[in-house]
Symmetry: C2
Subunit: 415 residues, 2 copies
């Protein structure tokens, strides 16, 4: 398996395009100066119909695009061929939201001559603001005309909100003698929290694989990647992960579990884990990627609960911002996680490219070199290592520090 | 029922004292300049043995003082006579923690000539730092000598950590023809989160009431006051609420539920609700008190879950800091709360001393006057009103905004 360029266009037969159509937030005075992209809408299309898997937000308040996409995929038997997505407006909590989201699918279906129920729609941005449909009506023909096998970046920039960088990742891997590709793009920076499908994520592959196995693989990998990510504990109303497989690599279709399925899953993990890291590192206001690697858990759920609790703790996050080796806060977060753990078995250490240092043994804080700890924690990728010493399960959760800029970005997001 | 001065000394027969003994944090460079108090240890004592109720943190990592207090009250059959509490050091995650906490009880017992198991011990401050016992050994005789029926403030300042103001409240109320008093003090500013006994809280009363009813009343009132409070989502390892009743008002002892018990509970609610508000308003870095008042819930648990979810949301908290009427974030927080609610029945409005404005009806955002909303949200006490329109239950949860100063205070708490 190896990294490859091309994001959602890495797999054969996927064309993309993006443009600026003029969907506006109410005011735009506090635009992050690091955000130079302008696109606000994108379209991408497969040359042939795709088997499709999806995971949606578990927020009870769901964006209209979620409702419409879910309904379309039910109607089409999990087949899709095109995706339209916009930023700047979430089309959520609006009385005419479903109607507008359906209209977006209809516009794409008419323009491309494909069935409306094979169109996926996604929106991200401000909640509770009427979505203007005219700019989108004008944009769809432009997007269709612009479709290209290498315009993945145009699409990736169109879904950004407070993101400061585009997030794309793709790998090539072998199924039998055939080279397949899987690639994805993601957006998201705040309102990100584990245990739900997180942010907007679109993943494409040319690997031939059944819808059932596609959904199974997606569920399994979401659990250990996106669902182990938290920026701020807030779960969006519009989160969605879509995985589309068009089979154009012409490998023998994967229809049962086994070696090929495992290979596919490994490739999917590689893409999703890397996108997850990118999302964490670009968390709103973040200055560093903070990972919590839990080992020695009695089972996977315990490992996940503990790792998430640590990366979600505002006190841990602010301490990481300050490069403060305050391990009491980590012990505290493990203790209130709800996981069934024995505090007197917990070992803690901090790790980064600058080294590794033990700070807690058997639940008690040990003497350690504060200067060395500071040096490690000043790095921009930090791992908090937690050994529960109670079993063989382990997991890594992904988060970031909590900074002044998070407060600044969110103190006045709409204006 | 009416407010009265005196905090924990408002009730008859309670003496208190506080002093500075020299328990140090590792460094003290970022001391909040608003914090002028110096006391780091206090003692308070009842003239007679008290029926005692307590609620402890649900964090699995528990401070040694929690372990020792719990064990003492078990041994004594829920009787207590004295409390010793220190700040600056939590005596938690230390190998010799229990030994040190026991020693504190022993010192008080010897000095006052009372049974060791009738002494309650509490510590708050930095976790994982060895508690120096010598300063405490020297302080106990000084504290004992200083005990006075009006030194509640000395004690209240001694338990402060990042608190900027002392928190005391007391009321007088009638049981039959007898005037009783109940008063309390609290500390806490960060590491505060609902659904657990929260922060250090000591409440005293001269009302005669059985241990069983005392505990029952405390459990009921904790649920709708402290457990509806969140500053940052972090639950401390050392949280404790102690309620001591010495019976020195000489009312007929309350031994069964009924009118007198309800009166007692109302008084307890008055004290604890006011302390809860003070804790919320003094949240680390907070510029305003943010309350979420949920009505129309199908049951109390639904109301609590929804109200807590709103006040815990970092996105809601930062929006309140920015006086930004971003109601999508409130809808989002209600949606991911886990409560069984119908989004399309939700009405939202903002209220403060500056007025009230509707922002959401039946789950959809309505047009509203942004300038008016801003004016309301610029006040320093804001209520987010949520009507679920699905029943008769309601609750208010207490929180604060998330600000630059929260990040500053916690970026380098230990140094």
């Amino acid at each position: 398996m190896k990294f490859t360029e091309g994001g959602i266009c890495a797999a054969k037969g996927f064309k993309a395009s993006g443009t600026y159509c003029g969907i506006k937030k109410p005011k735009a005075s506090n635009q992050n100066p690091n955000i130079k992209h302008k696109n606000d809408i994108c379209l991408f299309v497969s040359d042939t119909v795709c088997n499709t898997a999806a995971v949606y937000t578990q927020n009870k308040v769901k964006g209209a695009p979620i409702t419409v996409t879910k309904s379309n995929l039910e109607k089409s038997g999990n087949k899709s061929i095109a995706v339209i997505a916009n930023s700047k407006n979430a089309n959520t909590c609006n009385a005419d939201g479903v109607e507008k989201a359906q209209r977006m699918c209809q516009l794409v279906a008419e323009e491309l001559g494909v069935p409306e129920e094979q169109v996926i729609v996604a929106s991200t941005g401000v909640i509770g603001l009427t979505l203007p449909i005219e700019p989108i009506e004008k944009a769809v023909p432009v997007l269709a005309k612009g479709l290209c096998y290498n315009k993945n970046l145009e699409a990736a920039t169109a879904i950004m909100t407070t993101d400061t960088v585009t997030k794309e990742y793709a790998v090539a891997f072998e199924i039998g003698d055939v080279t397949c590709r899987i690639g994805g793009m993601a957006k998201g920076s705040g309102m990100i929290h584990p245990n739900m499908a997180t942010t907007l994520n679109f993943i494409t592959t040319d690997c031939a694989i059944s819808s059932e196995l596609l959904q199974k693989a997606l569920n399994e990998i979401v659990k250990v990647t996106y669902n182990c990510l938290s920026i701020d504990g807030d779960t969006s109303t519009n989160d969605m992960v879509c995985l589309m497989a068009n089979g154009l690599a012409f490998n023998e279709e994967i229809v049962c579990e086994g070696k090929e399925y495992e290979t596919f899953k490994s490739a999917l993990y590689e893409v999703m884990a890397n996108l997850t890291k990118m999302l964490a590192k670009d968390g709103e206001g973040a200055t560093k990627l903070v990972m919590c690697q839990v080992s020695g858990a009695k089972d996977m759920d315990t490992a996940i609960t503990c790792a998430k609790s640590v990366i979600c703790s505002p006190l841990v996050k602010t301490a990481m911002f300050g490069a403060d080796a305050n391990c009491g806060r980590i012990m505290g977060a493990l203790g209130y996680s709800g996981a069934d753990i024995d505090p007197l078995k917990i070992d803690l250490s901090y790790k980064s490219a600058k080294g590794c240092i033990d700070v807690c043994r058997g639940g008690y804080v040990v003497e350690f070199d504060e200067e060395k700890a500071k040096e490690i924690l000043l790095d921009d990728e930090i791992t908090i290592m937690v050994n529960l010493n109670s079993g063989d399960s382990g997991i890594t959760a992904y988060g970031c520090d909590l900074t002044y800029d998070y407060v600044k970005i969110n103190g006045d997001y709409r204006t």
